[in-house]
Each structure stands twice: as structure tokens, then as C-alpha cells.
């Protein structure tokens, strides 16, 4: 098998996969946009539903995980928030905005978690 032929096949395969990926990201993006819209109106549960859908559609969408983490925080679901932040940061470790959100979350989570760390008799 000659090399140019293999390269062409690989390129074609990648090219055909791209639209599927782009579709998933587009669908996820519209869920994220809708989620932001409703969150700004205080409808956090609806926002969670949208962002959960977004990460289901595109599990590599760091921004969607970030938004989901913020919503979980607002709802007091701190374990879920930590999980979502962890995923967002694993996907985009250098994203300063996600990092900032996470640092603020950690402060609150540590305060809430003092229960476990306390010297309970």
C-alpha cells in the first residue's frame, strides 16, 4: 500500500467525522446558550437540565461543564459541582475563568466540609 493513498484515506475519514463532531458541538452550544439565558432569569433548574444535555451531546465541552458546576453550586449540590469543575479543568486546565470559578467554589466547599474535618468526639 503506498503512503499517499493511506494519507488520502485518513484525510477522507477525518473529513467525514468532522461534520458529526461539529453537529454535536453546535447542538451542545445551543443548549449552553439557552441555559445561560434561563440562568440569567433565575431559572437554575432549567439551566441545569440544558447544561446536562450539552455535556451529554458533547462530553468534551469544558465550558458546559463549567456552567453546570456553577448551577450545581447555586443549588447547593457541592459534590456534583466539584465533579463538574474537575471535568472542566481536566479538559481545559489553562482556562483562567474556570480556574477562578473553581477557586471561589473551593473556599465555600472547604467551609461546608469543615464538618468532616472537625474533631468530632
Amino acid at each position: 500500500m503506498n503512503l499517499p493513498f493511506v494519507a488520502c484515506v485518513a484525510l477522507l475519514a477525518a473529513g467525514s467525522a468532522m461534520p458529526a463532531y461539529a453537529d454535536a458541538r453546535d447542538d451542545a452550544k445551543s443548549q449552553v446558550d439557552f441555559g445561560i439565558n434561563v440562568a440569567q432569569r433565575g431559572l437554575w433548574r432549567e439551566a441545569i437540565y440544558r447544561w446536562e444535555k450539552a455535556v451529554e451531546l458533547d462530553p468534551k465541552y469544558a465550558e458546559a461543564y463549567n456552567d453546570l458546576a456553577v448551577a450545581y453550586e447555586h443549588e447547593g449540590q457541592l459534590d456534583k459541582a466539584r465533579g463538574a469543575y474537575d471535568k472542566a479543568l481536566a479538559l481545559e486546565p489553562n482556562n483562567a475563568q474556570i480556574r477562578q470559578n473553581y477557586d471561589l467554589f473551593k473556599e465555600i466547599n472547604d467551609r461546608a466540609g469543615a464538618k468532616e474535618k472537625s474533631d468530632r468526639p
Partner: protein
């Protein structure tokens, strides 16, 4: 004809740059910003279930470390006022208990009782002479360690912890105040100082007035205070400890700053009060986060 060509090019370039600006403007408007700041309120559950109590007694604290602040009085006063406004529990107004003296009295009684028991044991005829020395050794080791009259550091305050395990005593206090939730503990407020090299930025201007910032390492001495409280929550019905938590906060100022000890104490307590309150009541913590597209 040749004179018109450069003019046409110029118009073309202007048109092109206008078009680019317009298109990029349209893109920004169409896409909008990629992030949004949003206020959130995070609810935090109370660490302690206080539904069994209607009243709370901030009894007093074993305090020490600095003579400049009466940490027992100030802590009781501050926590009472905080609980009055931020908790559904009724705060009992009572005299602040001098727990250092109470602990020392209890210790004296315990020591005297142990001495008497040891004396009785040594006076009584022993059935087995072989294990008499080991019995004495056990009696000696179980004797409570003396409590330092002046509390200067953590080592001094540690033996006072026995007081909070005295369920009979706290049950008696509970009965006196109709079985409230009792809040007590230890508060260590000590002067603190540190020194070392720090990086300092120095602003410089050259002959043309241009500003540059250079960094230099300078030796700096700082002084301040450290606050180490331990809050103990006791069930007034049984005298048993329900929950306890310890914190540590410090503040340091440049050597030339003269900050009164009391204002440092309040500055440090301000940081800890939300933690204390979150043990007793659910709270909502306000903040801002960034939503991303």
C-alpha cells in the same frame, strides 16, 4: 488616467478596511460576548442539627495568650450578638463563666480525691505484695496533670480540654438553664511576629520621564496576632459534647504599624464568625461566577 489610479487604490483600500471593520462588528454582535458574570447564592447546610434546642447558652471560654484582650469576655459578647441576629435560637443572657478558675477548682478536687484514694490504698493491708508497686504506678499516672495558672500558648491550654469531657458538670449547667445547647471551648489569642526577605517593587523614572518597575529583595519584620479558637457544642440535656471544631487565623502588619490588639482580635474573629454560624444554622453565601459559552 495614470493620476486617477492611485486615488482609486486609496478609495479601494478605505472601502476594504471599512468592510472588514463592519464584518468584524457584525460577527461580535452576532456571537455576543463569550462569558457572563452571574450572581449566585450557595446554600450551606448547618453542620449541627439543633432542632432539639430552643435556647443557646454561650457559657464562656478558657482563654489566654495575651493580656491586652480578655478573649473570654469578648468572644462570649461577640458570639451572643451574632447568634441574636443570625440564628433562630434564643440566646440566654447569663454571666460569663470564668472557665479557667472552674477547671482549676475541678482539678484540685480531682487531685485531692486521688491523693486520698492513694493514701487509703497504701494504708490498707495488701493481699498481694507483688503487684502493689504497679498499683501505685497506675494511680500516679491517672492523676490529672496540673493546669497552668497562666495560659501563654497551646501547650498551656491543652490540659484544660478535660473540662469539656466532664459530662456531669455540663449536665448540671444544662439543668440550671433548662437544657439549652451549650457553646464553650478555648480561645488562644497570642502576639505573633515574623521576619524574612520579601520581594518589593520599586518605581523608577529615567531622564525622559519613562516609568520602569524594578524588583528588589528586602528584609522585613512583621508583627501581629494569631487567633486559635476551638468551639465545643454541648448537649445541655446530657452534658455530652455534640460537636467541636478548631480554627486558626493570623494577621501580620509592618513593624512600624501600631494596631491595637482588640481591633486585631475583631479582625480575626470576623473571618471565623461565618464558620461558627454555619455550625448552627443554614446559610446562603453570596458570590459571583462566570458562565462560559
Amino acid at each position: 488616467m495614470t493620476a486617477l489610479a492611485p486615488k482609486r487604490n486609496q478609495i479601494g483600500r478605505r472601502f476594504a478596511s471599512l468592510a472588514i471593520a463592519g464584518v468584524s462588528g457584525l460577527v461580535v454582535v452576532a456571537c455576543g460576548p463569550s462569558y457572563f458574570e452571574i450572581p449566585i447564592e450557595t446554600p450551606i447546610q448547618a453542620k449541627l442539627d439543633v432542632s432539639a434546642f430552643q435556647r443557646v447558652l454561650i457559657a464562656g471560654f478558657v482563654a489566654g495568650g495575651s493580656d491586652d484582650v480578655d478573649a473570654n469576655q469578648e468572644t462570649v459578647r461577640l458570639l451572643r450578638s451574632q447568634l441574636r441576629t443570625k440564628s433562630s435560637l434564643k440566646v440566654i443572657d447569663a454571666d460569663v463563666m470564668a472557665l479557667v478558675e472552674i477547671a482549676q477548682d475541678q482539678n484540685k478536687v480531682a487531685t485531692a480525691a486521688d491523693d486520698a484514694a492513694a493514701h487509703d490504698n497504701s494504708g490498707a493491708p495488701s493481699a498481694s505484695t507483688t503487684n502493689s508497686s504497679s498499683t501505685n504506678a497506675t494511680a500516679d499516672s491517672s492523676q490529672p496533670a496540673p493546669l497552668p495558672a497562666k495560659i501563654k500558648d497551646e501547650k498551656d491550654i491543652e490540659p484544660y480540654g478535660r473540662l469539656f469531657a466532664n459530662t456531669a458538670y455540663w449536665k448540671k449547667i444544662g439543668e440550671e438553664y433548662q437544657n439549652p445547647l451549650i457553646v464553650t471551648g478555648t480561645v488562644l489569642f497570642m502576639p505573633n511576629s515574623t521576619s524574612g526577605f520579601v520581594n518589593r517593587e520599586i518605581e523608577q523614572f529615567d531622564n525622559l520621564g519613562r516609568r520602569t518597575v524594578a524588583s528588589e529583595r528586602v528584609y522585613q519584620e512583621k508583627k501581629g496576632f494569631v487567633l486559635k479558637p476551638r468551639f465545643v457544642f454541648i448537649d445541655g440535656n446530657t452534658g455530652a459534647t455534640l460537636y467541636s471544631e478548631s480554627y486558626s487565623e493570623e494577621v501580620l502588619y509592618p513593624m512600624q504599624t501600631n494596631t491595637p490588639a482588640l481591633s486585631s482580635y475583631f479582625e480575626l474573629m470576623d473571618r471565623l464568625v461565618p464558620n461558627f454560624l454555619s455550625a448552627l444554622s443554614s446559610q446562603k453565601i453570596k458570590g459571583t461566577r462566570i458562565l462560559l459559552k
